[in-house]
Symmetry: C2
Subunit: 413 residues, 2 copies
Amino acid sequence: MDVELHDRLLQNGEKTHARNFLWQKNRPASMKLFDKALHDSHGQRVKEIIDYRNAGGKSIGSFCIYVPDEIAMAAGVLNIPLCGGTGFTVDYADKVLPRDICPLIRSTFGMAISGTCPYKTLKDFVIGETTCDAKKKTWDLFDIRALEVPQKKKKADRDLWLSEVRDFTTQVEELSGIKVTSEKLRDSIRKQNRKRDVLNAIGQYRTLPEPPISGLDALLVSQVALNMDINSFIEAGDILLAELAERAEKGESAYSEPGVRVLMAGTPSPMGYAKVHAAAEISGLRVVMDESCTGIRYSRGNVLEDLETVDEMLEAIADRYFDIDCACFSPNSERFSNILGIIEKYNVEGVVHNVLQYCHGFNVEAGKLSGILSEKGLPSLKIVSDYSQEDAEQIKLRMEAFRGIIENTRSHK
Amino acid sequence: MDVELHDRLLQNGEKTHARNFLWQKNRPASMKLFDKALHDSHGQRVKEIIDYRNAGGKSIGSFCIYVPDEIAMAAGVLNIPLCGGTGFTVDYADKVLPRDICPLIRSTFGMAISGTCPYKTLKDFVIGETTCDAKKKTWDLFDIRALEVPQKKKKADRDLWLSEVRDFTTQVEELSGIKVTSEKLRDSIRKQNRKRDVLNAIGQYRTLPEPPISGLDALLVSQVALNMDINSFIEAGDILLAELAERAEKGESAYSEPGVRVLMAGTPSPMGYAKVHAAAEISGLRVVMDESCTGIRYSRGNVLEDLETVDEMLEAIADRYFDIDCACFSPNSERFSNILGIIEKYNVEGVVHNVLQYCHGFNVEAGKLSGILSEKGLPSLKIVSDYSQEDAEQIKLRMEAFRGIIENTRSHK
C-alpha cells in the first residue's frame, strides 16, 4: 500500500461523498449507517476481511453482478466486488491500459496499480466475466480467469452459462476445500434472496409520491450493499426500512419540492461515483428508479427457494443470473420490456441514459432505447461521462433543461 | 443513392488509392487488375450484382470473416462483405451512432445513411456477428440478425458455434429456396479453399528476401478479394502469381531498398483504408505479413475437403471458422502462438500494432502481445488511428523512428 497516496484518496472520497450526498436536507436518520459503511469500506470492512482471512477464510474478488454470490457463500468463500468508482485513481491505469476504455475499469486497476486498493492482497483469486470487450481483454492482460456470459438468450446460451456456473462452483470448492452441499446452498440462496428483498423494499419507497428516501440515497444503499458484510447489510437495511415505513406513514418526503419523475438507465455507478445521480436530484429530477447494475439490475429476481438437490439449485441460480438484462446480450429485448414495465409502474416521466464513457454496449443501446421511448412519447436525455468532475456543472445545466422539457410536456397534456 | 455525393466519394477514393498505393515504383504489372477491381467495386461489380439479382439470384450483406462463405455459396446465395474503409462517410454515422466507436462501423453505416453505398438495396438481408460490443449493439439498433461468435474456445463454445452455423445454413436455404446438398457444399468448400490458396500463395511472395510484391500490394489483393466475384478473383490471382513467380526467379524486388521486416498486427483495413500500411512502407518498413482480418486471419486454414455428408461438412466449416483468432476470444492464446509462428518463420524484426480507434479488443490485447514480444526481445509499435488523414504524417514519423530502433538493434547483435 502507498499509505500517503491512500490518505489522499480517502480525503478525496470524503469530499466527493459530501458533494454528492450530504447536501440533501431531509435524509432518513439511518442513512448514517450507510454513510458509515461507505467510509468503512477502506477501514473497518478491510479489517473484517483481514480477520476473516487470518482465521483461514478464503475470498475472491469480482467485477460484475453476474458472479453468483450464492455459490461462493455456500463454499465458504467471500466474494468481494472490486469495481472502482473513484476518479482519483483513473489515470494510474495509463501504465497498462489504453486511456479510451471506461473509467470503471481504469479506476479499479488504477487503484491496484497505485497501491491504494486495500483489497489487493485480500483475495485468493479474482474472477472476471465477458460482459464487455475492454473488461474481457483486461482479464487476459492480467491472466485473470473469467466467467463466460453468453451474448444471446437461446437454449444453447443457457446451456453454456450453466456450464460456466458449474465450473465456478468447482473453482470455489477447490479454493476453500468446502463442498457445496444442498443444505449450504439452500441457506445461501435464502440469505442472498433476503438481501435482494431488503434492497427491493427500500427501492419501493423511492417510488412513492412523497418518497421518504431520495433516489440518491437509494443509490448509496445499493452501492454499499456490494461491499458490506451481508448480515450487517440486512441489519442496517431493516433499520432503514423501519424508519422509511414511519416516514412514509407521516408523508415525510426526502425532497423539499416534488420535481419530475425520471428513470436512471444504463451503466453502473460503483461506490465513489454518483455525479450524474447527484446532478439529476440537485436539478429537481427525482430518480424514482435506477435500472443499472448498482440499481434494480442487481436486486431484481430471486433464486427459486426450497429445491432439493445441488444440481436443481445450480440450475435455478444459473437461470436467475441468466435473466439479468446487461447490454452484452443481443438482442436485449428483455431490458426494453423491463424498462417499459418500470416506466408504467412508477409513472416515469423521462429517462436519463447514464453512460460511462467508452462503454459501447450501453452507449449504442441508448440509441435503440431512445427510439422505443420516443414512440411512447417519453423524452430521454443521454449523459456520457466519466469519473472526473470537469463536466459536473454542464451536466446539471442539461438536467435542468431536461426538467423543463418534462414540465413543458406536462402542461400540454 | 445520392449521386452527387457518391461522385465525390469516388473522387476521394481515387485520390486515396493514389496516395496509398500508386506511389510505389516497381509494382507487378498485374496489380493493375486489382487497382481496377477496387475501382470497379463501385461500378462494374455493382452491375454484376444487379444483373445477378435481376436473374433471380439472392444475396446477403455481412461485416466479418466469421460468416461462412461456403454455406452461402452452396445455397446459391452471394455474400457481400460490406465493411467500409472510407473516411469520407464516417461523420454521416453521427445521426445514429456515437462518435466514439470504431471508424469501420461508422464508415459502413455512414455510407448507408448518406446514400452512397451502392450495395444498400442489393441484398435480401444482412448478417452481423457478436465479435465486438459496438457492432453487436449496432445490429440491435437496426434489427440486424447476428451470428453468435462465442468468447472462449471450450467444447461448450464450439457446440454453440456449430448451432449458429447450422442456423445460418437454414437461413440461407430459406432465402434462396435452394437446399444445401453434400455435392453443392463439397464444391463450394473446394472453391473457397482455392481462393484462400491463391491468397496464401501471393502472401508467400511478400515474405521473400527480395519480394516481388510489396506488403502494401498484398493488402490491396486481400482487400479486393472480399469484394470481387470469386472466379474473377482466382483468375486475376493466378495471373498475378505467374508474374510473381517470374519476378522472383529474376530476383526483381518490389522495393528499391531492403528496409526492415515487420508484421502488421491487429484490426482490419477494409478497401479504402491503407493509411498505416502505406506509412509503414513509405518509411522503409517491409510488411512481410499482416495478421489482420484483411490479412492472413482471412485466408489461414482450409476447410477439410472430400467429406461425405452435409453434417460432416458443416462441422468442418464450423471448426475452420472457430479457429479464427479474433480478439473476441478470451484467452486468445491461439493468436499469440500464430503471431510467434509468423515471426519465427518470416524473420520478423518488429511488430506494428495497427489498431482502429475505440476497438477495445485489439487495443487492450496489444498490451498483452507487446509484453509477450518484449520477452522475446522483439520491439513493437502501437498505432491507434482512424480513417482521417490528419495523423498520416505523424504516423510516418513514428514509423521512421521505429525503423531506426530496429536497425539499431540489428547493429548491436
